[in-house]
């Protein structure tokens, strides 16, 4: 079993800071005073009242942003690994 790689603390990585900031904003968008603007019945989307659709979109955003960040991290780790291999 591999020793897990030590992750860089979020403070060092500007992309991580941006992702963390996104989640703070997402949280803010789901509560007062932002959500009340969107917690209406109309317009109806995919049969749902807008108040529900809005929260579901928040959930999907949460998934896609972290998924994108995860793929980016993996790509960067692979690139780092290749660079280390070449310099050895």
């Amino acid at each position: 079993m591999d020793e897990p790689r030590r992750a860089p603390p979020p403070g060092r990585n500007p992309v991580a800071v941006a992702v963390a900031a996104f989640y703070v904003l997402l949280f803010a968008a789901l509560v007062w005073p932002v959500y009340p603007w969107f917690a209406t019945i109309e317009p109806r989307v995919l049969a749902m009242p807008f108040s529900l659709f809005y929260v579901v979109v928040g959930l999907l955003f949460s998934f896609f942003v972290l998924f994108g960040y995860y793929l980016w991290e993996r790509k960067r780790e692979t690139a780092d690994g290749d660079a280390n291999g070449a310099s050895r």
Binding site: F27, L30, P36, A39, T40, V56
Partner: protein, 496 residues
């Protein structure tokens, strides 16, 4: 064969399958405390995903979710809101927690804080409060299981027997297989619940209203306040935005630090497994949407169901719907799966926390590894029996106790953040911040219940949020005036 008997047999079939999976899964674990509590740190993505996913699908979500949608409308969306951000902090601190756990041998949450702050008081306090938080949570799951059994067998299986049958099975596989039993049964139970949630969530609106769209049309025309945020309060009047928002906040902050979930970080095979679990988590939370549809489908078709949590079993067993008994049986099994997949993790964590964090702190080194494992198993039985005893007391209101414990658990969030991000926090700062936050949450809650403080004075905001503010202020103030921990020690946790 009478319908109730078919339902009963399908349910028993599900229980036997859970038992077989639970017993078989423990065979590969090592004979050690690390094997029993942290699964030898070897869990793969599939199992970890379902352990965390099943956490959302507790008896509360399966029965309470439709109940909230049915009686309080849009207020129920708060569950979706907190589920969309609640686990994200794990992505950032989880890999550090897992790496430290592997290096220093932690298997519980409190062991991390004990080491970070070089404190015996913090883990002991956490252990006591965790057990206090777990028991009402567990009792609710047990009551839910007994209740479902009772309703679908038309009262032939009394509630006490239903709880005993379901939790007898849980006790056997948790006792025998530890966290691996929890993990693999949750995988089975989770898949089961997913299929059932979507099946019923789309079928019932179609059957009762001709589809999800016509269902919401009818509610919008008759009871528009139900679909506008923030929905209705428990009294049927429009809820306040302060209460809605702080419910999202307190649940979101608490979610990533509940001790029985937090300790699952140590079970991950590697960092990638842990990260993928967090990434895919919202895909599981999406299954709450059809669960809410079920509740909404009953608003106009089944008015006046009391208590509101009974709406799902009421609809499923109603002659109006005419579901075949096998499907009703599968529903019953799904509701039991929701209860059991949460209850098993709680039981397992309660035993581990009581022995490792409480006893291990009072008498360090008193128990060797084999003795620890024996005591954890014994505690699993004792906590299970005590909770079952409480579940038999009629009319005991535990939901309030649970909400109170949420207020306390959320106090662990600031502590977790400073553990990894702030070198300057001291042992006294961490301890007094925690104590202050917990005390504010507790006493403000009490004052609100006794009408010593009006809800208007707090803007409807959850007492735990005020606790968190007090927690952070005291933590910073005390840390500025007390002795710092050795930098060489702190750098193990905060390396920037």
């Amino acid at each position: 064969m009478p319908a109730w008997l078919i339902v009963f047999l399908v349910t028993i079939g599900y229980l036997l399958a859970s038992l077989a999976i639970g017993l078989a899964s423990g065979r590969h674990a090592s004979d050690s405390t690390e094997g029993y509590v942290a699964g030898d740190r070897s869990l793969n993505f599939l199992v970890l995903y379902f352990i965390m996913g099943a956490s959302v699908f507790s008896a509360f979500a399966f029965l309470g979710g439709p109940g909230w949608a049915y009686s309080r409308g849009a207020a129920a969306f708060y569950i979706l809101a907190y589920a969309s951000v609640g686990l994200v902090p794990w992505y950032f601190f989880g890999p550090r927690v897992a790496a430290l756990g592997r290096r220093f041998g932690y298997v519980t949450q409190a062991e991390l804080f004990a080491h970070r702050f070089d404190s015996r008081a913090i883990p002991a306090i956490l252990a006591v409060l965790s057990i206090f938080a777990f028991v009402p949570y567990l009792v609710i799951q047990m009551k839910g299981a007994g209740y479902v059994f009772n309703v679908v067998t038309e009262g032939r299986v009394p509630q006490w027997a239903g709880s005993a049958i379901a939790y007898g099975v849980v006790l056997v596989y948790v006792f025998r297989s530890g966290v691996l039993g929890v993990g693999w049964t949750n995988t089975f139970q989770g898949m089961f619940m997913m299929v059932l949630a979507w099946g019923l969530g789309l079928y019932l609106p179609a059957k009762l209203h001709g589809g999800v769209g016509p269902m919401f049309d009818a509610i919008a025309a008759g009871l528009p306040d139900m679909l506008r945020g923030p929905g209705l309060g428990a009294d049927g009047q429009p809820w306040s935005w302060g209460a809605y928002s702080s419910s999202v906040a307190i649940s979101a902050f608490g979610f990533s630090v509940w001790p029985h979930y937090f300790m699952k970080i140590y079970t991950a095979r590697d960092v990638d497994t842990l990260k993928r679990t967090v990434v895919y988590y919202p895909t599981f939370a999406l299954f709450l949407v059809p669960i809410l549809f079920i509740g909404f489908s009953g608003v106009l078709a089944f008015p006046g169901v009391e208590p509101a949590d009974a709406i799902l079993p009421t609809i499923v067993t109603s002659a109006l719907i005419g579901l075949p008994p096998v499907i009703v049986g599968l529903f019953c099994a799904g509701a039991l799966a929701a209860s059991m997949s949460t209850g098993d993790a709680l039981l397992h964590a309660a035993g581990s926390v009581a022995v490792r964090d409480f006893w291990g702190n009072l008498r360090p080194g008193a128990l060797d590894d084999a003795a620890q494992r024996r005591w954890i198993r014994l505690m699993v039985i004792l906590v299970g029996a005590a909770s079952y005893g409480l579940a038999l007391i009629p009319g005991l209101s535990l939901v309030e106790l649970l909400l109170l414990s949420y207020g306390f658990i959320a106090q662990l969030f600031p502590l977790t953040v400073v553990t990894f991000l702030w070198r300057g926090v001291t042992r006294a700062g961490a301890l007094w911040g925690l104590v202050t936050g917990g005390a504010i949450a507790f006493f403000l809650d009490l004052a609100l219940r006794l009408d010593l403080v009006s809800a208007a004075a707090t803007a409807g905001v959850h007492p735990g949020i005020y606790g968190m503010v007090g927690n952070v202020i005291v933590m910073i103030a005390v840390s500025r005036h007390t002795a710092r921990l050795a930098p060489a020690h702190v750098v193990e946790f905060v390396n920037r």
